[in-house]
């Protein structure tokens, strides 16, 4: 370069105006050392496999009054926790709220809870304990069947994904004794017609589940659409 010398002189003159380089180098070394030290101390955790596309999950309803709003669901979709297998024995209630309800029973799809939860009598409010246990167990099974039958029909609408729409739709329907789902409608909108319609259509596709309720059971089903990543 023809003007290399003047360039260098000029460059040096310019450099003098900023803080001395050696400070940066010293700071850099310090930060690097700190980082290396930190990295060695931090256990390296294998990254969770990222979900490609979509996943439908079932979540047990957290301890909340029927009408209460859902708390933010505690699930991470990138690495959904495995189905919880809890001991069916009594558990120490954590709060007055959980005291009111029976502890969770270990359940696989289509499998009966091994032992009726001990604290169940409290839920039967006045009914005979044994009846309550039977009913509760039945309902528990019904609930699992219902969830298993429903979940695979739900998918995230492409338009909602593109627009970043999320929300909760509450569907209401009646479960008949032969397992048919009737009178399905949106009880509470997500605020997005596309999500409401997708949820309702998915429920429509279910049509009938393998287990019915002895009496026509009116049910509400919250469907939460959530985007991640």
């Amino acid at each position: 370069m023809a003007n290399g010398v003047s360039n260098r002189q000029y460059r040096q003159a310019r450099k003098r105006r900023v803080s001395p380089l050696r400070w940066f180098v010293a700071l850099s070394l310090l930060l690097h050392a700190a980082l290396l030290w930190h990295w060695q101390r931090t256990p390296i955790v294998a990254a969770a496999p990222a979900t490609a596309g979509m996943a439908v999950q079932l979540l047990e309803r957290p301890q909340a009054a029927p009408a209460a709003k859902l708390p933010p669901a505690p699930l991470s979709a990138a690495a959904p926790p495995p189905p919880v297998q809890r001991a069916s024995g009594p558990q120490a209630p954590a709060s007055s709220e959980s005291e009111k309800r029976p502890p969770a029973a270990a359940t696989e799809p289509g499998q009966r809870p091994a032992t009726p939860p001990a604290g169940l009598a409290a839920a039967g409010s006045g009914a005979a304990a044994a009846d309550a246990i039977d009913e509760a167990a039945l309902e528990s099974r019904l609930r699992v069947t219902l969830q298993q039958s429903l979940a695979r029909h739900f998918s995230y609408p492409l338009l909602a994904r593109r627009r970043g729409w999320q929300g909760e739709v509450v569907l209401a329907f009646r479960l008949q004794s032969d397992g048919r789902i009737i009178d399905a409608h949106v009880a509470r909108s997500s605020g997005y017609g596309v999500l409401d319609r997708a949820a309702l259509d998915a429920l429509g596709k279910v049509g009938r589940i393998s287990q019915g309720a002895e009496y026509g059971l009116a049910m509400q089903l919250p469907v939460i659409y959530r985007l991640e990543g």
Binding site: N7, R14, P83, E139, G191
Partner: protein
């Protein structure tokens, strides 16, 4: 694709309430679905961590396929070249509004304040079938910042630089509002190097004041009305004197559900680009647009988009020309996103008052492969001739035809890893020759490979990318100027202690040629960033730029910052 997971069942305490079903999906970029295109997304969190002084530096430090050129320090003429294409081959949208100047087709990157940005989506590859002209190299879509609460920051550092931001947002009735203001003043350094034509040894500074505001209001019946405005006013010095660059953009969007599976959007947009030098050279670009888009969702896994666009553009160079052009367009896009297969089809017809009708189309096929997704795409794009090329006295030609491109691409995405191979041919490139002026004479071919990954190790977020490309003039075989064949970047961000965070940015750009046989040397930039939380709402942030004090050029004959440091005190509630 739908993995089902059963939680432990509890007894049906309240018979009428079933456990919720949670349907999750990966968020997709609004511009294009990542499973079918090469996309990089930069969120506000990364913007705040990086503390970069300019948008292009931030993009270059975090995206493959990007080249940055700049004639000096902050505020000086800056270009972003996407996938080796020209500076006016990247379409820039701010909140959906096209903001490229109608005069020369470029966007004034130097005048876009980072403090106004919430999210940047960089979509590589042709997108003319959706957006029309300019989207040959790709699209960069900017979403402005819409915070809840209050934030403020004050910072300064090398080259007598001071920067402050103040803003916030919240609820207003049933709706929301946001307001962001920013000011930057930098003493700078001489833009030109000694020996460059017109060199003056004094510092060339930059001052910018910017304001962003908006409201979003639900009208009931799932309709929503949103207004977004952005104003940026810059005063930049160069060796030739000082000039003013002013950019304004805004849009009014009405969004409503016309049916359970039918969404409509009516979008009015306005963009102005005003440039003037102190000695009286003034050019203005104005564009008003109206767009009407329909998104129809036949099923959950497909999406049909139909739309109509109309744009009226005015370009004026005071005392020289004052012209208008009008473009009407119709477009359609269909996406099928199945468990095993993806399909994307697009077609668009543009009718321009100058050159007439121009059609573009694209097809993308994708599918599941080895845990990831593979796609292959083929698409055409174009760039309408600019006002400068059509009306520059003595040299312009109103009969110029659009520049056209064809791109084939193969891509694969597996978790945080994405790889793509592309081959683009641009034909009818408009070139200036003396004394003939502007004419559609050149052809170029750009081939490249891009590899980008992002993952987390503990609490550390790591990102890296490799770009290999060959951009050449098809007639002479010479490489296109200022495009490096090799580029590499790496970033790491994570906690150092409970209260502090550290970030590292490394950027390597290989050698490339520039005008008049100059070769620009390869360079490596190392930047360090740090954050220390003083209290819940207060943080001290620092950035050391070009720690190795690398001497490099982004444009032949022009200076770049040496080792420099910046410190910012920020508040967020």
């Amino acid at each position: 694709m739908a993995a089902i997971m059963a939680g432990a069942a509890t007894t049906l305490h309240a018979a009428e309430n079933a456990a919720p079903i949670i349907v999750t999906a990966t968020r997709t970029a609004q511009t294009a679905d990542e499973t079918l295109a090469s996309v990089t997304v930069i969120e506000r969190e990364a913007i705040a961590q990086s503390q970069a002084n300019s948008v292009v530096e931030l993009i270059q430090s975090r995206s493959v396929g990007v080249e940055l050129t700049r004639n000096g320090g902050l505020g000086t003429n800056t270009s972003l070249l996407l996938r080796g294409s020209n500076a006016n081959h990247v379409l820039v949208l701010i909140d959906g509004v096209r903001v490229n100047s109608a005069i020369d087709g470029t966007f004034k990157w130097a005048n876009l304040p980072l403090g106004q940005i919430e999210r940047i989506e960089i979509v590589r590859g042709p997108r003319s079938t959706l957006y029309g002209s300019d989207a040959i190299g790709g699209v960069v879509q900017i979403f402005t910042r819409k915070e809840s609460g209050l934030y403020a920051s004050l910072g300064g550092g090398s080259y007598d630089t001071w920067r402050t931001e103040l803003g916030g947002g919240g609820a207003i009735g049933a709706g929301r509002f946001h307001l962001n203001a920013g000011y930057l003043d930098s003493g700078g350094f001489s833009a030109a190097r000694p020996g460059t034509f017109g060199f003056e040894p004094d510092d060339d500074g930059y001052t910018n004041a910017n304001l962003g505001a908006g409201i979003s209001y639900p009208l009931g019946g799932s309709a929503n009305l949103a207004l977004n405005l952005l104003h940026s006013d810059g005063e930049v010095e160069s060796d030739a004197g000082s000039s003013t660059q002013r950019n304004d953009s805004g849009n009014l969007a009405l969004d409503w559900a016309a049916g359970a599976r039918w969404q409509q959007t009516l979008n009015l947009g306005h963009a102005a680009d005003h440039f003037e030098t102190r000695d009286g050279y003034r050019v203005h670009s104005l564009r008003d647009t109206i767009g009407w888009q329909h998104d129809l969702q036949p099923g959950d896994s497909d999406l049909l988009t139909l739309g109509a666009d109309y744009a009226a553009e005015n370009g004026e160079s005071e005392g020289s020309y004052d012209e208008n052009s009008y473009t009407g367009a119709l477009f359609a896009q269909y996406q099928w996103s199945g468990e095993r297969l993806d399909l994307l089809l697009g077609a668009r017809g543009d009718d321009h008052s100058g050159f007439g009708r121009h059609d573009t189309g694209s097809i993308t096929l994708g599918g599941k492969l080895g845990g990831g997704r593979l796609y292959a795409s083929y698409g055409t794009a174009f760039k309408a001739p600019t006002f400068l090329q059509r009306y520059y006295p003595g040299y312009g030609d109103p009969a110029l035809q659009p520049e056209e491109s064809v791109t084939a691409e193969l891509g694969y995405r597996l978790g945080g890893l994405q790889a793509s191979l592309f081959d683009t041919r641009v034909d009818n490139l408009i070139e200036f020759t003396f004394p003939a002026g502007y004419s559609n004479v050149s052809r170029a071919r750009i081939r490249g490979a891009e590899l980008e990954y992002g993952h987390e190790v503990g609490n550390w977020r790591l990102n890296g990318g490799l770009t290999l490309q060959k951009a050449e003039d098809e007639q002479s075989g010479d490489p296109l100027l200022r495009r490096a064949e090799k580029k590499l970047f790496f970033t790491a961000n994570g906690p150092l202690t409970e209260r502090s965070e550290l970030g590292i940015e490394v950027n390597y750009t290989g050698p490339r040629s520039d005008r008049s046989t100059t070769e620009l040397n390869a360079f490596t930039l190392l930047n360090l960033t740090g954050e220390y939380r003083l209290a819940r709402e207060w943080a001290l942030r620092g950035r050391i730029e070009n720690l190795l004090d690398e001497e490099y050029e982004l444009a032949g004959g022009y200076n770049t910052p040496g080792a420099s440091a910046y410190l910012t005190l920020s508040y967020q509630r």
